[in-house]
Subunit: 353 residues, 2 copies
């Protein structure tokens, strides 16, 4: 029996407690300062209010002030904080994590320097650790197509545990594997993280076609806009693979679960797709952000802002060509400049020719 | 102004008359013996009954007995016959096509020899031509994510015109390009045809998750089976790329429109997905074939039968490994042996490890 301490009590971190506890492991779930009501609910009723489900008895919920107790003696330290809280998580984990623990990260995203240099979040997390501690632990992450609630209700889910150390990956995979939670491992840690971060960009784009259809009043017509969505998906997948190469992942990691599969599930629905749908309907993005979806966490939009914003400096530095990543560049114009929906088809797939 | 003669008056061939006639070209649409009612309807009312739309005036509909007149002096000979009619189409085109015409094929699929050797349909079509005629024409095809009705109602559609001769491709693309019909060209003719044929395999698989959900009575639940569908899509995409390499296409053709994009749209709905849904619900495939969907054209099922059936002889010949193409092999068991739904997850993505 292992003990897994988790920082962040969001739906994904909480969903992962199901396979863990069903395998007989103990999970100490620590809420952030934003999770106080969630933790109180679990402590009093066992129910995670956002997930809408009762967690298993072997999950012990802790408020943030009790985090040290929760992490004491843990074998695995999980970070379930979303990409907006990664600095906060880094600061806290740097004090909570003890030498020798295995770190397992579910946060996805990137950060950029002013010159466009992109950093993966595990590297950002790590930057808060002192070097000796950072070296004494192993760094791992979960990637792949995984809607949290589906894991929690035992629906088949295929994921990749990625990291640099195969032994750690095998150990972690063994803790989680059940008859519905299927785990592969990969030592292309960078590639897996690149796929996980960049696929969010294209989830926003996946909503545009549905919005356009609604704007046209054709959403109940016999012929909709699958062709539109498929072309956008195809261009997104092409760019995801280009990011893989640009940022140092293995190209084949863009196939299967960590690339195309994850993009497929992320494009199937959720908040980022919904934001894209509003833009497709003709709402300027600033209005989506400030009114229609005010306060909603949009990791896809954040990915467009960070990664899309890095493309211009990367182009100026000659690392990419002006014609590379036309969809991501256009999405950046939507997010930052309220560009209207005029898909730049002619720039897709290497330029129309 | 060019004249395009089309053999086969199905929905795809007919949808393609919209961009052509809007560009000022003349289309002679010839029905097969199965299309008599369609042609009569177009001749008398202008309406294609299956498409549910009135075709443009520049489309002239011909019954099969008037095919010679329709093809006389045409610049382009299109084959719009589905994959079940490719021998019939080959026999007829071999007499209708005149030297120097450009052939443009929308039929997709493969045929297999007993030893598993797979033949692309353009090659099958060509085998009916005498060599001198075959050499005097150019062979081209349309691939990519394209639901016929969406083209007909002017919804943005991105496709690839593939062939061996760039000049022919440029000529053909120019005939079709409009502000909604976006055409790229590719001289990876083989790769494009491989993607078009193999993606149909995985459309059937795309229905299984929805069927399973219905069997469980969970189709209206908060948590459905996107994770399941995404893993199946990811494995399908991985196998599509493997087919690309195995059969002599360029690996990168599995990206974008001719591979992933086409698979995405084919998985979004249609008859093959519906057949998969029944199997997911627990109906043996033989019952789907003989009762629930009796008489319905299922090109995905046909692709599984032909390509899936070739995998065993190809394995025996040592051209592929027993662990290659686990999803396609399993789908073949469903189609030919009424195998129940037990997804072989552990074999996916190179085997669970």
């Amino acid at each position: 029996m292992a003990t897994i301490a988790v920082l962040g009590a969001g739906i994904m971190a909480t969903a992962l407690t199901f396979p863990l506890t069903e395998n007989g492991h103990k999970v100490n779930l620590v809420g952030t300062h934003l999770d106080r009501d969630i933790i109180e609910s679990i402590q009093t009723t066992g129910i995670h209010p956002d997930l809408g489900l009762k967690v298993n008895d072997k999950v012990v919920a802790y408020q943030l002030e009790d985090a040290e107790e929760a992490f004491e003696g843990a074998d695995v330290a999980m970070s379930g904080v979303n990409s907006f809280g990664v600095h906060w998580a880094g600061e806290h984990l740097a004090t909570l994590v003890k030498p020798g623990m295995k770190i397992l990260n579910v946060t996805k995203g990137m950060e950029a320097d002013d010159d466009g240099t992109l950093h993966l979040l595990p590297d950002v997390l790590r930057s808060f650790f002192d070097e000796e501690l950072a070296e004494s632990v192993t760094w791992n992450a979960i990637v792949g197509p995984s809607i949290a609630g589906e894991v929690a209700v035992h629906h088949d889910t295929c994921v990749i545990f990625a990291g640099e150390d195969q032994d750690s990956l095998d150990y972690l995979a063994d803790l989680f594997r059940t008859d519905y939670y299927h785990v592969w491992t990969s030592t292309d840690f960078r590639g897996c993280e690149i796929g996980a971060a960049t696929k969010n960009i294209y989830a926003f784009a996946a909503g545009l076609g549905a919005g356009l259809l609604r704007k046209e009043g054709k959403q109940d017509d016999r012929y909709v806009r699958f062709n539109y969505n498929a072309a956008v998906f195809g261009q997104g997948q092409t760019e995801l693979r280009q990011f893989m190469t640009l940022l140092g992942g293995q190209p084949q990691t863009a196939d299967g679960l960590a690339g195309v599969g994850d993009m497929y599930v992320t494009s199937a629905g959720g908040r980022n797709v919904k934001a894209g749908t509003f833009v497709g309907e003709g709402v300027p993005f600033s209005e989506v952000r400030d009114c229609l979806m005010k306060g909603v966490t949009l990791e896809g939009v954040q990915a467009i802002r960070v990664i899309g914003g890095a493309l211009e400096p990367l182009t100026e530095r000659g690392l990419i060509k002006p014609e590379d990543f036309p969809l991501c560049r256009y999405l950046y114009q939507i997010i930052e400049k309220d560009a209207p929906l005029e898909m730049p088809w002619e720039k897709f797939f290497g330029g129309m020719k």
